[in-house]
């Protein structure tokens, strides 16, 4: 169990607004790390900083012990960081299979292990349960299915860290359970997962460690039980939620 990805005092400022203030988080191999917080807390911004889509105003991002703060997004992907998006970013005019194939073929440019992209692609399709829609244009698929395509595409680049931005949104209860089961198999294979999620029972059920972000500040971290017991968290975020769940 070692830290594979971490941020150190990351600050993101948009004009007068401080979206992320000195956020430090750590992602460890073989477990699901959660990142939660109210709307506008800066979770997606932090994801963008980690994947290189957003340049931080200050702070550093480390991957596998190396400072990657100034690396471009595609170089980070080649190191082994893959992600999904809160709002779908699928390749809508390619088929589901082609979406995954693009990523698998792209992996060829840095991974010399001599794998066959087409074979990898079919394996992943089977793994996430998309084989039956593989030839459909993703633009015509329902949101829940398209989300799975995004997940499959992220897997196709054979990442070491997987960042999932609200994977359960747009999924029904049954699909959410399947997603949770999938995540379990990923971490068993040694993958590190960082998860942003609003569905509390999903978060508490899958994450082993949770960071809580509020107004850009990490206000608490710990195991699900610790976080739920934290008074700051209850005040800022979970208070209303736990009452709802209790009732």
């Amino acid at each position: 169990m070692s830290s594979i990805l971490s941020t150190q005092d990351v600050v993101v400022r948009f004009g007068v607004l401080q979206a992320v203030s000195q956020a430090s988080i750590e992602v460890i191999e073989g477990r699901v790390t959660g990142l939660i917080g109210p709307n506008g807390a800066g979770k997606t911004t932090l994801f963008n900083v980690i994947t290189g889509l957003q340049e931080p105003t200050a702070g550093k991002v480390f991957f596998d012990g190396k400072d990657i703060t100034n690396k471009t997004p595609f170089k980070r992907a080649r190191l082994g960081i893959a992600r999904t998006f809160q709002k779908l970013e699928v390749f809508g005019s390619l088929s589901a299979r082609e979406n995954i194939l693009v990523a698998a073929e792209q992996r060829k440019t840095w991974d010399r292990s001599g794998f066959d992209p087409a074979k990898v692609c079919d394996e992943i399709l089977a793994k996430v349960g998309l084989s039956h829609v593989s030839e459909f244009m993703v633009g015509t698929l329902p949101t829940g299915t398209a989300r799975l395509v995004e997940l499959a595409r992220a897997l196709a680049s054979n990442p070491r860290v997987l960042l999932l931005d609200e994977p359960s949104s747009g999924l029904n209860e049954e699909e959410t359970e399947e997603m949770a089961a999938l995540l379990k198999t990923f971490v068993e294979e040694g993958l590190a997962v960082l998860l942003v999620e609003h569905d509390m029972s999903f978060v508490m059920g899958t994450c082993e460690y949770i960071h809580v972000l509020d107004f850009g500040v990490i206000i608490a971290e710990g195991t699900p039980a610790e976080v739920q017991a934290d008074s700051h968290v209850q005040a800022a975020y979970l208070g209303t939620k736990t009452e709802e769940q209790a009732s």
């Binding site: 004009g15 709307n39 506008g40 800066g42 194939l101 990523a103 609003h198």
Partner: protein, 734 residues
């Protein structure tokens, strides 16, 4: 920050040195005296004022609608003609005519455009947005040419033409020019005030980012966007009326101001009105400086014309790199499947068969010659349209797959044609075609290079500017195309026993050669679509951010497709040269290239077969003329038609080939997949439309308060935050 500054500093020094070198080399010898300085300033500022008004209008439209309106100057041109009609022709007083033109006709056009076309473009792909406004540009030019025939000369008097003007040193500034500058300043200040200090203006800017967000201000989105377009048209008309007395009431001159104005708009990063004003002034002053102090010499006689384009390219170098945006993906409603190799081969065969049967007279044809040999005139025309089809084919990977909107391919073909007359074409050497393609590939890349790291719109601006420079400066240089060489520049080229040239006896062979080459390229593109290259281009076009996060190097990926497209355009250029035989300096104007881009877009720019349909479309006009005995209404349709077709794209964004293809495939009994996908697409479309209406109904009546406006304003300047902050954190989870 240090790292970011230094490349800019280096570029600034390099650009500065190049300008110094050019100024020094072409110094005309005029002394720097009070007289020349005042003349340089007076002319420059007046010219700059004209550009500033146009650029300001462009920026306002873009900031409030998210659409870059290539038709802006053409609308201004139309309104200037309206104004001429009212004053000079009908004899109305100036003030009345101005009010009618600017406050009745202009807003009416604006609201109409919004209602019929622009509202549908909000979520459309950049290609569609650009093509529709380019179509509008050609439509307004066509309408103006139809109503006011260019055969009659017209002129619009300056304001206060018979007064003395004001003396600055030894130079007189006419009142018209003073008014122009003052109006430009007032327009800039007024627009700035309107957009930042008034409720309507704030709503206008809000509507670009989010319709529901704009609802917070209590205004109706439809009225807001209509007002934006009305305002845009009014500034366009104002600029048109002020410019026309200076440039003459000539459609092309007035519509071409768009190239200059977009350079000024690029300096303003498409959002700052004061900077657009300054940008206009900089260009005006640069042109005036060149006119007063520089002597470009015989070889570069038209270098003047390249100044706005050069400024645009310089501005692009200094623009901040575009962020990879997320959350802006447009879900397509398209369904398609990969063409199988045998289907592509069949298609290629059908193309050869159609053209071959026509050339040999097996298809009945017009005006008496039902069957039998085609006349050499018609064979020549057929080849003429097919070479343009080759240009269209070169756009498919570039625009259709990689989503890079370029207007430069016809200009590249032009340069290719001229180069071929130096590298082999003059001796009938077929190998020259290879050399030309090898030169045109990096040329295509070089044009795109300054815009590669920027938003797609800047690429469109840069390529349009390049097309203008290529026509006005590059091709006119004597070592490119000697104006005294009027005869045939190309010797017949021999391909495996087929002789191709422009001479009458070779025409049928040439046409057959062209259609075979076309069919082969078509087949090659269809096969390319099945490879990882095309997949990567399409992925990049669909979502640049997601492509980057799976490890795609966007820069090198774009470079590949520009080179491919450039090489294909180069080949088309060689064929254009061979087909025409002789070339003249004005063979490749910007306005001849634009309809080709439009035509392929209307047919469906993702599909190689669309280039063939475009060729058929081009050929149908002269055929109809012959059948119908050259009626004048057909001329009007020919002028306006391409534009109208492009506007139809707002309703049919995927292009004609797609819709007819889907429906035809659905008719085939074994294509159950086509029927299923169509049903899925229709259902999805319905679902999305329901969502849209709900958003539209929500929030329109919400209260409007000062702090909401302040919040909106903050958010608007930082659009990246909209997603995270449009719902103010209330402490509860949603």
């Amino acid at each position: 920050m240090r790292l970011k500054v230094s490349p800019r500093l280096i570029s600034a020094i390099v650009v500065g040195l190049v300008i110094l070198f050019l100024v020094n080399k072409n110094w005309g010898g005029a002394s720097i005296s009070a007289k020349t300085i005042s003349s340089f300033l007076v002319v420059g500022i007046a010219l700059g004022g004209i550009y500033a008004i146009t650029a300001g209008g462009l920026v306002v439209t873009y900031a409030t609608t998210g659409i870059f309106n290539f038709a802006h100057a053409a609308i201004g041109c139309f309104l200037a003609f309206c104004y001429w009609q009212l004053t000079v022709k009908q004899g109305l007083p100036t003030v009345v005519a101005l009010i009618i033109t600017l406050f009745v006709i202009a807003p009416a056009i604006g609201f109409l455009l919004d209602k019929v076309i622009m509202r549908r473009l909000r979520d459309a792909a950049l290609v569609v947005q650009l093509m529709v406004t380019v179509g509008l540009m050609l439509t307004f030019m066509g309408i103006t040419l139809t109503i006011w025939s260019p055969k009659t000369g017209r002129s619009l008097p300056q304001f206060f033409q018979n007064t003395q003007g004001v003396q600055f040193g030894d130079v007189t500034a006419t009142w018209h020019r003073i008014i122009t500058v003052v109006v430009a300043l007032l327009v800039a200040l007024g627009l700035r005030f309107l957009l930042y200090k008034t409720r309507l203006g704030i709503s206008m800017r809000a509507v670009v980012d989010s319709r529901s967000l704009a609802g917070l201000t209590g205004a109706k989105p439809s009225i807001i966007s209509g007002s934006s377009w009305a305002l845009g048209c009014m500034t366009a008309g104002l600029a048109g009326i002020l410019i026309a007395p200076e440039t003459g009431l000539v459609v092309e001159n007035l519509a071409l101001i768009i190239v200059v104005a977009s350079a000024a708009a690029a300096i303003a990063q498409l959002k700052s009105i004061p900077m657009a004003f300054i940008g206009g002034l900089v260009i005006g002053l640069a042109k005036s400086f060149s006119a007063v102090y520089l002597e470009w010499g015989k070889d570069w006689a038209y270098a003047d014309e390249a100044i706005p384009a050069a400024i645009l390219f310089i501005a692009l170098l200094f623009l901040p790199m575009a962020r990879l945006e997320t959350g802006k993906i447009r879900i397509t409603k398209r369904t398609e499947r990969l063409t199988k190799p045998w289907e592509a081969a069949l298609g290629a065969g059908v193309m050869i068969a159609i053209v071959g049967a026509w050339a040999n007279g097996w298809i009945p044809w017009i005006s008496g010659t039902t069957f039998g040999e085609r006349s050499t005139v018609w064979l020549g025309r057929g080849a003429g349209f097919l070479v343009l089809g080759l240009v269209m084919l070169s756009l498919i990977p570039l625009i259709g797959w990689a989503g890079q909107v370029s207007f430069a391919n016809y200009a590249i073909a032009g340069i290719g044609a001229v180069l071929f007359s130096h590298f082999g074409g003059q001796n009938g050497d077929a190998l020259g075609i290879v050399w030309v393609m090898l030169i045109c590939a990096p040329l295509g890349l070089a044009i795109a290079l300054p815009a590669l790291r920027l938003k797609g719109l800047y690429l469109a601006l840069a390529t349009m500017a390049f097309a203008e420079v290529a026509d006005k400066v590059l091709i006119r240089h004597p070592s490119m195309l000697d104006p005294s060489a009027t005869g045939v520049l190309f010797k017949p080229v021999n391909f495996f026993g087929i002789t191709i040239s422009s001479s009458a006896s070779d025409r049928k062979a040439f046409l057959m050669f062209l259609v075979i080459a076309f069919a082969l390229l078509f087949f090659m593109l269809e096969m390319l679509r099945r490879t990882r290259w095309a997949r990567r281009w399409i992925a990049m076009s669909d979502s640049p951010a997601a492509s980057a996060t799976i490890g795609v190097n966007l820069t090198t990926t774009k470079m590949m497709v520009f080179m491919l497209s450039g090489a294909m355009a180069g080949f088309a250029g060689c064929m254009i040269g061979l087909q025409r035989g002789a070339l003249s300096v004005d063979s490749f104007p910007l306005f001849a290239g634009l309809p080709l881009v439009l035509l392929i877009a209307v047919q469906g720019v993702r599909y190689p077969v669309a280039a063939f349909m475009g060729f058929i479309g081009l050929a149908s006009f002269p055929a109809l003329f012959e059948v119908l005995g050259k009626p004048s209404w057909l001329t009007a349709i020919e002028l306006i038609g391409p534009g109208i077709a492009a506007i139809a794209m707002a309703y049919r964004p995927e292009g004609a080939v797609f819709y007819s293809g889907r429906d035809l495939a659905g008719l085939l009994p074994w294509r159950k997949d086509a029927r299923e996908e169509k049903a899925l697409a229709v259902a999805k479309e319905r679902e999305q439309n329901i969502g849209k209406d709900e958003i539209g109904d929500m929030g329109l009546t919400r209260p409007f308060s000062a702090d909401k406006v302040a919040q909106l304003d903050r958010v608007l300047d930082i659009t990246d935050l909209v997603d995270e902050h449009k719902m103010a954190p209330t402490g509860g989870a949603s």
